[in-house]
Symmetry: C2
Subunit: 233 residues, 2 copies
């Protein structure tokens, strides 16, 4: 009657202890190297095995299946996100630091954007961030369920802003395009919409990098303001 169990690594008891030789950490580290270098599609068990000078299937002693490996790798990414103790800096600053940090971590590991949309964040690192965020919003003055709602809102914004940015980056094979030609193609795509065309004339396509930065700031300020407005009293 239990049906298909919910099968996350994090909701099981961990394996006893790592013996000498290979270990989960070593495997995860190697996997991340491959992922950073070749993206999510570039990671195959055989390639990972080779990198560890081991057989492809040896990995399966440490890890139940590839998805489990990805869960481990994913939580490692959460570990890279930095967030001050909210009590030290106040909630708005803590929120901003977290937001910028999350964005830059995801941009540094573009493959993690795909994982975001694939598996819940239940690893210890993710949970630690979630905990700090809860404390942050309690400090701000939220209570009860609103603490969670505020947290969801903030992370939703960050995800939603960053994920498509990654998609866009990877769609144009990283810098190997001619801006003018690009602009022309997009212009043709929106030719039937005067409002969209008008937008193309703004000079903003010159430096997409900082444009996105500015857009991110704008949205972040809006979200924080909006949350603040929902505080009691």
């Amino acid at each position: 009657m239990t049906g298909k169990q919910f099968a996350s690594v994090w909701l099981r008891e961990p394996r006893k202890a790592a013996s000498p030789g290979r270990s989960r950490d070593e495997i995860v580290r190697a996997a991340i190297e491959i992922l950073d270098a070749e993206g999510l599609d570039g990671l195959s068990m055989r390639k990972l095995g080779a990198k560890l000078s081991a057989g492809a299937t040896s990995i399966y002693w440490y890890v139940a299946h590839k998805d489990e490996l990805l869960e481990l790798v994913y939580d490692q990414v959460w570990g890279e996100m930095s967030m001050p103790e909210p009590e030290d800096v106040g909630w708005r600053d803590a929120a901003s630091v977290l937001a910028y940090s999350m964005r830059s971590v995801i941009l540094r590991h573009p493959w993690s954007a795909d994982l975001l949309g694939r598996m819940p964040a239940l690893g210890p690192n993710a949970i630690q961030v979630a905990d700090r965020m809860r404390r942050m919003f309690k400090l701000a003055g939220f209570a009860g369920m609103d603490v969670d709602y505020a947290g969801s809102t903030l992370t939703a914004y960050i995800y939603g802003m960053t994920i498509p940015e990654v998609a866009w980056n990877s769609a144009m094979g990283e810098h190997e395009y001619d801006p003018a030609e690009m602009k022309e193609m997009v212009t043709r795509a929106v030719r039937d919409y005067p409002d969209m065309l008008e937008r193309m004339d703004m000079t903003a396509y010159d430096d997409p990098q900082t444009l996105r930065q500015v857009a991110f700031d704008f949205g972040l300020m809006s979200v924080l303001d909006g949350l603040e407005r929902r505080l009691p009293t």
Copy 2:
């Protein structure tokens, strides 16, 4: 010197015209049926071919590669999103309707959440939504680049809220789990964090469906308030 071209279906001239027999539309329709029934991993060219009682590789006459098919399918999803003409209902209502609509469309086609994070939305349907959204925010009083920033902020929130929801849904094979058991497992995962534990005691896990609805509303109101606050004057 152009390097790897940016290769979206939408930025190329379309194929002449569909002859009788198979057509792109028919293929896309069949693909969506498979996707809805079996998810993103369930869609293979052979299966799609079979559904159309055609050979697997026949599809490649209409479509350059699988990714291109996914682009087509993706834009079809955008076509399902409904948004009133902003001039008719005012910007806040238009924004709310769009937000609810996007959320429900993505939840209805969970596989589209993965596509969101993989390819930019450049199809005609996506562009039409983008255009309406621009007009909506101009109507609200935004000008210049702020129109875009506001748009990014809103869609970011919707994506970011919905994508993890889909991930969560699919992680627990759709309803086949025991809530009590689930709660116990999660509780164990957060056992070191008093704030997180306290959260588990709230009764909110009883009906995740409406909980998420409420959370979505909370965040949406916050975002809209925050945007409103950035209006000039």
